[in-house]
Amino acid sequence: MLSATAEHAVRALIQLAVLGGSGSITGKQLSCMAGIPPNYLSKILCLLGHAGMIQATRGNHGGYQLAWDAAQIRLTDVVNLFDHRRWRKGCFLDCGKDCKDADHCAAHSGWQECRDVFERFLDRTTIAALAAPVPASPLVMPQGKGRRAS
């Protein structure tokens, strides 16, 4: 699962992706929209900027915007940036053991499956997908009431 910092970073990136190429947004606005404390956000944005994911412009009309295409930013990229320590070691309890298939802790095999599923989810999910509006539930048309094509 994500740390609070990674979660905030994802939310900030989603807001920037929603904005798209229509200009930049100030840190204050982004803080309000993403629900992140301004000071916390500025540190997160600094790291995202260093990683090249976002672009910061100074000045009156300055602000933040995505530098990458939102479809190319995977959750893995964000997690690697903020939660790399959490992910570096494979051990369930991080008990100082370098958990490998050959030499593993008691929780290893069950945990490995969860980890694989989670990693696939992070790899396949992009900021663009998370910024897209939630599709409405499909309307079910009662049988026999549909219009026939003329």
Partner: protein, 146 residues
């Protein structure tokens, strides 16, 4: 993947699980054996005592012990105390108070299956099943005699 706090909580419980049921273990011994900062551990232990996972006894012969045998403590009970993302209606992105199929966030549908896998593992695993994690056995505490 688990938060540091949840990992520490599990490690602390494993120290207690390695001891005979009736033996009380001092906080400082637990902190040393599980390699957790003492102050951090004491906060974690308060949460776990409130949740009924451990019993805390004060006084010169005090300490902590499991309130149930290790084979009756499921990992979900521990992780659920500290990691909100395993809670039934939690939102992956933290944008909704409650996220569900009827009222989902944009990550909900993809996250649902990942969370189900995780919860399945945590619900199906008890503390005794992971007790093979290498921790040193606690030494009996030497107490000063009057």
């Amino acid at each position: 993947m688990l938060s540091t706090t949840a990992q520490y909580a599990l490690r602390a419980l494993l120290v207690l699980a390695a001891e005979p049921v009736e033996r009380l273990v001092l906080g400082k011994d637990m902190a040393r054996l599980a390699q957790i900062p003492t102050n951090y551990l004491s906060k974690i232990m308060i949460t776990m005592a409130t949740a009924g996972l451990v019993e805390a006894t004060r006084g010169s012969n005090g300490g902590y012990r499991l309130s149930r045998p290790a084979d009756q403590i499921h990992l979900i009970e521990v992780v659920g105390l500290f990691d909100r993302q395993v809670a039934p209606k939690s939102c992956f992105l933290g944008v909704k108070a409650e996220c569900s199929d009827c009222d989902p966030c944009t990550a909900h549908m993809a996250w649902k299956s990942v969370k189900a896998e995780l919860v399945h593992f945590l619900e199906g695993t008890t503390l005794d099943k992971i007790s093979g994690v290498p921790f040193k056995k606690a030494r009996p505490v030497k107490r000063k005699t009057a």
